[in-house]
């Protein structure tokens, strides 16, 4: 017997960043809102406290704040035709569990996408011609422009107290910032972070080569700051325990610090924890969502009726929930039809190390999640792709985010993997090495998608989501081209030797790469090739909305959170100013 709860105006699936944003805004607009979070409640006090927070084994290695895959996981395969097998342990990416979601344990690297990303297909056609890419690069326009999103970026950056050096204010290029960014209406609310020696050495070499280094925009806030809601954020202490840790200093912007207190104080809002949503219920005739069914902490199935349902879960989970709920047409790679699960993308990462062999004392543990110096000279809109055969790009950075030694102990190529040679190399290089990373875009490919697994089931008996992914040819070309540039900078940094990690193997679910999974429920201009319209509203059910990086038609060469936050405020505005007054599709087909 299914338990039936009192109806609400809005059911939010998830209790992370986008749920916090929508929960606060919609409750203040007078709607009753319940957020259904699969994990538990967490607050800075008493949960994110030193010294026990500074535990690499518990949080980084054993994934204390990440999803429990014994309950629900994905299956994975590299290509269509291979048997997908369950991800039995976390590895490549770390979806969060618990209130605040991944925005509790993130690093805080907060980047805007360059303007052309939002109209990428049109931009490529215009700049390089319609035949520049083959049909397997299924990039699309988002249906929204950078100019439309800009005020929402600005607002989100104020909410989070983002600290950085502006590079382009109203079209005026600013010294010390990123000259390749889109025009911003205002500078960052806070000044940039300090510069570590890693960033200094990188910046010097990059500038000598004619590139344009600048401090990475950061949610590790740099001074005492009060956000537009009145939340107080403290200055970052550079303790080196950002990702995947909670911040005890109230210095890393998170839902708990910046947004949630104001949602939780509103009687219209409820955060209901230990609620594992199984599916969205919907009326086949009326074509509207009627609520969600979840399993509560006691294991009871519960139906929560709602006038609006908003999917605020992790990137994978939103399209998988739609598939499990039978909403929309599932994408089929054989016919290349259907849209739910289509255009799953990731992030294309490579790295390099500069070994100073004792010639520098780097102190890699004096760190912060977004402490870094970057160049954006090789992001998509920054350089000419003519003759290169690929689209996309990304930034290159020297981050000093962690010196935690279980995972961070760089050694040169050729070092034995264990034994005396390894031990001595670790001792020699730990404190005298600078790591660089290339953070590249990800192009969609017809064979990379999310579906439902035919064999494996979760703890509730539902089919697992199934991920099919390998790095597409476009991204391999791009990674090769830009990793060579990164190696050039590494070479110029004056070390004794360098190491370069190329992208030359199949995608693997095992080593951690990044939690920037995107796509699967993408936004767009055409219901045949997208799941939601420009307001993140489902084309199929007008009272169903999808948040998060699920909606990115392709992934840019940047971290996703700034864009995720901006889109959530953009969608909240559309709900409040347009939809509530007159429920129905906001874009006519």
């Amino acid at each position: 017997m299914v338990l039936r709860m009192k109806p609400v105006d809005v059911a939010l699936v998830g209790g992370g960043l986008t749920a916090a944003i929508l929960g606060k805004e919609l409750a203040e607009a007078g709607l009753t809102v319940v957020a259904l979070e699969r994990g538990g409640m967490r607050q800075t006090v008493p949960d994110f406290q030193s010294p026990t927070m500074h535990d690499e084994l518990k949080f980084d290695v054993r994934h204390a704040y990440a999803q429990d895959v014994s309950v629900q996981t994905l299956s994975f395969r590299n290509f269509v035709g291979q048997q997908a097998l369950p991800m039995r342990q976390l590895g490549s990416f770390l979806p969060a569990e618990g209130v605040g979601g991944g925005a509790v344990h993130w690093n805080g690297q907060t980047w805007r996408f360059q303007p052309e990303w939002f109209a990428l297909r049109s931009w490529v056609n215009e700049r390089y011609g319609p035949d520049f890419l083959d049909d397997d690069v299924t990039i699309q326009d988002w249906g929204i422009t950078y100019e439309e999103l800009e005020p929402y970026y600005t607002f989100f950056e104020k909410v989070m107290g983002i600290s950085g050096a502006p590079g382009n204010v109203k079209g005026q290029i600013q010294v010390g910032g990123n000259p390749f960014e889109g025009p911003r209406s205002e500078p960052y609310p806070n000044p940039p972070m300090k510069q570590s020696q890693s960033g200094y050495l990188f910046g010097q070499a990059a500038a000598q080569l004619g590139y344009h280094p600048f401090p990475v925009p950061s949610a590790n806030v740099t001074r005492h700051y009060t956000n537009p809601f009145g939340a107080k954020i403290n200055p970052c202490m550079y303790c080196g325990f950002c990702d995947p840790f909670g911040c005890e200093h109230y210095a890393k912007a998170s839902p708990q610090v910046c947004i949630l207190p104001f949602a939780l104080a509103n009687k219209n809002f409820e955060m209901r924890t230990h609620a594992y949503v199984l599916r969205v219920e919907w009326d086949r005739q009326a074509k509207v969502a009627t609520g969600v069914t979840y399993v509560d902490a006691q294991g009871r199935e519960v139906f929560q009726p709602a006038n609006m349902v908003v999917l605020c879960a992790f990137a994978h989970h939103n399209p998988i929930l739609m598939l499990q709920s039978g909403i929309g047409q599932p994408y089929d790679p054989a016919t290349r039809t259907g849209m739910v699960g289509r255009n799953y993308t990731y992030q294309t990462m490579t790295g390099a190390e500069v070994f100073y062999d004792g010639g520098k004392v780097i102190n890699p543990f004096m760190a912060a999640g977004a402490l870094g110096t970057a160049i954006d000279d090789f992001n998509n809109g920054s350089f000419d792709h003519t003759g290169l055969g690929f689209i996309g790009g990304g930034y290159i950075a020297a981050y000093q985010t962690t010196g935690r030694p279980i995972y961070y102990h760089p050694v040169p190529e050729g070092t034995p993997r264990w034994g005396l040679g390894w031990k001595q190399a670790v001792r020699r290089h730990y404190n005298s090495t600078v790591s660089l990373s290339f953070h590249g875009s990800s192009a969609p490919h017809p064979n990379n998608y999310l579906g439902l697994d035919p064999t494996y089931t979760d703890a509730f008996g539902q089919p697992l989501g199934m991920l099919t992914y390998d790095f597409p040819y476009n991204d391999r070309l791009m990674a090769r081209y830009i990793t060579e540039k990164m190696a050039g900078i590494a070479q110029a940094m004056g070390g004794k030797q360098i190491g370069v990690g190329w992208l030359d193997d199949h995608y693997s679910i095992v080593p951690y790469q990044t939690t920037h999974n995107t796509g699967g429920a993408i936004m767009g201009t055409d219901p045949k090739t997208s799941v939601v319209n420009r307001y993140l509203q489902s084309w199929d059910l007008h009272n169903l909305w999808v948040m998060g990086s699920s909606v990115f038609p392709q992934n840019a060469g940047y971290n996703p959170t700034d864009t995720v936050g901006a889109l959530a405020y953009w969608a909240a505005d559309a709900m409040i100013k347009q939809y509530i007054k007159n429920p129905g599709p906001l874009v006519q087909t």
């Binding site: 010294p51 014994s70 994975f76 395969r77 097998l85 039995r88 004392v361 760190a367 030694p405 001792r427």
Partner: protein, 271 residues
């Protein structure tokens, strides 16, 4: 080093360097860095613990491993991270006890692992771990099978009775897969053991390994400190304060030091 700087000198030095660190290095800022470095007392990170090479290693209570399994683990981890005259290896560091406690607890029981079948154990490496075993089962079966391999191929001897190069030969055979175990791909066993050994050498000592924070001292990682806000822009300054464990009763106090009402200090001068 003979002279000790006063707290006031130290603040002055830090102030000079803090400003200068944003511009190219100069001789005077280098000198300021050195002053700060020399004021760090006592020098602890980078210093090996008091340790007598070859002395018997203390072994704590075992919760999961039996005595023979423990002898295998202790011998194997010592080959993965061997002792040197100055710096002890994994055995002295207590990696055996670390692994034993991990296996006796949630990790060993496969908590937070997806353990439903069907099982396809010979999957490509890109699809990750596909064995049916929890980590505790993997060790129990894997150790037995490696021991059986050794006794069959090395004149009836146990792994821990082999000399070091021969132990390395066995470990390399597991790593490469050239040694075939009946119940699991040998590289899966080897990689699990290697990963857990590195964890035990570098995880906080409260977990039973990294004794006296030897792994941290060896590389220069100070552990669970909560702030370097006033040090991060002092380049090429060795950090020489003693490391801090989350189990250190003074750790919570050490965090707050330097962030009192009196204002920020870089906290490098005392502990």
């Amino acid at each position: 080093m003979t002279e000790k700087l006063s707290r006031r000198d130290l603040l002055k030095a830090a102030g000079v360097a803090g400003v200068a660190a944003t511009v190219p290095e100069t001789a005077s800022t280098e000198a300021a860095h050195q002053q700060v470095a020399q004021a760090n007392l006592p020098p602890a990170v980078g210093q090996p613990p008091a340790y007598v090479p070859g002395a018997p290693v203390e072994r704590g209570v075992l919760f999961f491993l039996n005595d023979e399994e423990a002898r295998f683990i202790e011998a194997a981890v010592e080959r993965l991270i061997p002792a040197e005259p100055e710096w002890p290896g994994a055995a002295w560091a207590g990696v055996l006890n670390f692994i034993d406690r991990q296996l006796a607890a949630a990790y060993g029981a496969g908590a937070r692992m997806y353990l439903k079948g069907p099982w396809i154990p010979d999957a490509p490496p890109q699809q990750g771990y596909q064995l049916r075993y929890t980590p505790a089962q993997l060790y129990r079966i894997g150790i037995a099978e490696v021991r059986a391999h050794v006794t069959a191929n090395y004149g009836g001897r146990e792994f821990w009775d082999l000399n070091a190069p021969v132990m390395d030969e066995v470990l390399s055979g597991l790593e490469s897969g050239s040694i075939q175990l009946p119940s699991m791909p040998s590289p899966v066993f080897f990689e699990t053991l290697l990963a857990n050994t590195v964890e035990g050498f570098f995880a906080d000592p409260v977990y039973g390994g990294n004794r006296e924070m030897v792994g941290w001292r060896m590389v220069g990682f100070p552990g669970a400190y909560a702030q370097y806000v006033d040090l991060v822009e002092l380049y090429n300054v060795p950090f020489t304060r003693p490391p801090i464990s989350i189990g250190d009763t003074g750790a919570r106090h050490a965090y707050l030091e330097g962030h009192t009402q009196a204002g920020h200090t870089h906290g490098a001068q005392k502990r």
